[in-house]
Subunit: 457 residues, 2 copies
């Protein structure tokens, strides 16, 4: 079974592959919003139908949340599992989109052709690169390259509440020799990358309560506690002047970067001025004694994601509100434990507020620890060579600032290594209005998977 | 013209007076919200009709905002002007009201009977005490006690934008010997008070801009600037650990309290534990070296009235937002100049934010300086005696934490002194859900004005 005719087939059928992706993108499978539950089911069914057409034994499996898509096909060679997710982020603020987020459109831009829609990059476009590689292989050789399990989730953007229970209940069915995950990006614009470490995540939402009711700032201002001041002080105290997180024990389980990786990362010549400049910023805002790449890939963070209280309508209301609210999340690295970090944060916050205030902690979705892959597995080097051939640039091992908890779960629940290969770009605007995926990412992504499968089989 | 039959008439006609007040309270004259503009006009017309019935020459005068009600009546004696306002605060959050805020209801409470509705205390109930006193006097004596001008505003809760232009254009018509203002409270529960100093007010609303779009905290967290952190730090830095405002020059024009007033205030034995305890607080939160009464009456403040940015919906969005927003107001004392304070605040804030952020300042409604009355005018002592007789407790000269800019304008624009007498209570919940006015405040308030008018004529 040779590779070249497969690559030729991929090139020849790109328009049809794009049509299929656009069909999938038209389904608004927003997993966080219960109003879109039927759409999530529809996206799962669409994928099952496509996998059946490819000769897989495929089904949508119910969960308490959105369905899992599981498919098996092929024989011989190594047993590989492919993971992606068919759910997408919410689209607000809708007014900032240039067109309906679920009406995908191909656009010519100065940087090339792009496909624009919610989920175009994260993760529908990426997961379809693998399915299209399988399709081309099947068309040319009449069979899949090796034994394959496809595992597609519909809750990745809402914290994957069903994932661990489902993996645990179906351990035997889902365990393979190696997991392949397509939910990451290229390094720089056209340098292929395999992500070998990802940050974890945990979240806290809380309300600071002061007076039993909103107070008139004339009658109480200067004497009564203003919970917005308490909140501002608490959040300001969360970092010191050097950008370090002040929660006691926060860095206890944070390992320093190994020298080998540090040297490799230095070789990447990350241009933080451009990275920040693209979004209108110029100054690195994190720990002052760390390089920008370390800040993004190997250092933990504490970030306020939402903050509100008092009057925010038109005009003024001279009120001292009764409550102040915040959502705070932590990106985790190394062996930081999400539960331990949240406990430490709560204790730190509780200890800092005045005696006549109290903090109400809201329910949180469970956190996930960081993932660090073992690149001793020879599959990493085989895949790196395959990617290098496709892109004509040496593929690199990189870190990821975002959280892809699944990579850790494959190891902790199923005992298998995971390899993260993806083709997203920094300007894909995932989680933001006007998300896009480069046609080139899609095309070369499909070709990349054909090469990687060929190298691993 | 004797006083006693007037007081008897007031006692006998209290039910009818309450009915009239409830009619006025049914008009939702919220001045800050353009949707209620017709209702503001309706409230003005209602008052004009009532004043015409009392024999005043009354009219509603158009302004660029809501109408002014001006009425003239009576002859002889001193020429007194009475000021009140017929507009009310917004009612949100509506869900916290026990009934429709514009469906006034009389309730029996452990502390006595109350009338509950938006505006019951601030200021419709208060202004009607004066009109009812005039009505009783007219009924008994066939005439008003002296020459009276009534001046009722409809923009007090939205910063009185038309007030100074209107006073300036109608200077001759509005100038009297003394202004009487009914928009303040009793001292403690049944100690009548004349307010001789009030704090001023100025306001700033601003947005801190960082990145040009919302950023994914995985892709940018730890490296990119989070404007919620910048905002939290800015607002935390607004006060030092002792509660002092850190804007340079903020205290330049703040005079220390004169010894005579300091001694008088010490005699008031203000119980801050009860005052704070009534709203669920226990710790004075202001300048640590000031007494609670000073904090409320004679010290300036900086308070955050609204704060928002990022994601505040259900669940989580791990976003670094592009913007953070705040509304901040300053209570002013002595000779602090609103424009100078705002300029100093802006400069202080601008100097503190990182170079790759910028602050956008939104339009503000003009501020007002503090008012300090001269109690040398013998009318103050005459009124104090009249109030003492009505309430059976020595009336006191007090300060006010809130802003009633009109008091200062009567001096600065019309050159006349103002005397602030009111019957509100600390638990009236003005500006909050479930505002009320004690029936006792209303009844004794009417009787108080009859006595004060008798003492001044």
């Amino acid at each position: 079974m040779s590779l070249d005719p497969v690559l030729a087939e991929i090139d020849a059928t790109l328009p049809q592959a794009l049509d299929r992706l656009m069909d999938l993108l038209r389904i608004p499978s927003i997993s966080t919003d219960p109003a879109y539950k039927p759409d999530c089911a529809r996206a799962a069914d669409w994928l099952v139908a496509d996998l059946l057409a490819l000769g897989f034994d495929a089904s949508a499996r119910p969960t308490p949340g959105h369905p899992m898509v599981v498919a098996h096909g092929g024989t011989g060679g190594p047993h590989l599992l492919f993971y992606g997710h068919y759910d997408v982020q919410p689209v607000d603020p809708l007014s900032l989109w240039h067109h309906d987020p679920f009406d995908p459109q191909i656009e010519d831009t100065p940087k090339g052709r792009v496909l624009r829609a919610r989920g175009a990059s994260d993760d529908k476009g990426q997961l379809m690169t693998f399915l299209e590689a399988c399709r081309a292989w099947k068309t040319i050789h009449g069979t899949l390259p090796c034994k394959l399990t496809i595992f597609l989730e519909g809750e990745e953007e809402s914290g994957s509440p069903s994932l661990i229970p489902f993996m645990t209940e179906n351990r035997a069915e889902l365990t393979a020799g190696l997991a392949l995950i397509c939910d990451t990006g290229l390094y720089a614009d056209s340098v292929p990358a395999i992500s070998t470490q990802l940050r974890g995540l945990c979240k806290a939402e809380f309300t600071i309560h002061a007076a039993t009711r909103d107070l008139h700032s004339g009658a109480y201002g200067g004497l009564a506690r203003n919970p917005l001041h308490v909140m501002a002080q608490l959040l300001a105290d969360l970092h010191d002047a050097e950008g370090r997180v002040m929660v006691p024990g926060f860095y206890d389980d944070v390992a320093e970067l190994p020298d080998t990786l540090r040297q490799q990362w230095q070789g990447l010549a990350f241009d933080h001025a451009t990275y920040l400049g693209d979004v209108g910023l110029s100054l690195p805002a994190g720990e002052s004694d760390r390089t920008p790449l370390e800040m993004l890939w190997s250092r933990p963070t504490a970030e306020v994601n939402g903050l509100w209280g008092g009057y925010n309508g038109a005009g003024f209301k001279t009120v001292l509100p009764a409550e102040a609210h915040a959502k705070v999340s932590f990106r985790l690295v190394s062996r930081q434990d999400p539960a331990k970090i949240l406990t430490a944060f709560r204790a730190w916050a509780e200890a800092r507020i005045p005696a006549d205030c109290r903090i109400e902690w809201h329910d949180e979705i469970g956190g996930s620890p960081a993932s660090v892959m073992s690149i001793e597995n020879p599959a990493f080097e085989q895949a790196r060579k395959a990617l290098t051939e496709e892109w004509g640039r040496p593929a690199v091992f990189v870190g990821e600032g975002g959280s892809i908890p699944i990579a850790g779960y494959f190891k902790s629940v199923l005992g298998m290594d995971a390899m993260l290969i993806g083709f997203a770009k920094d300007d894909d605007q995932i989680h933001s209005p006007n998300e896009k995926y480069d046609i080139d990412s899609f095309h070369k992504g499909i070709r990349s998977w054909a090469r990687v499968l060929d190298s691993l089989r």
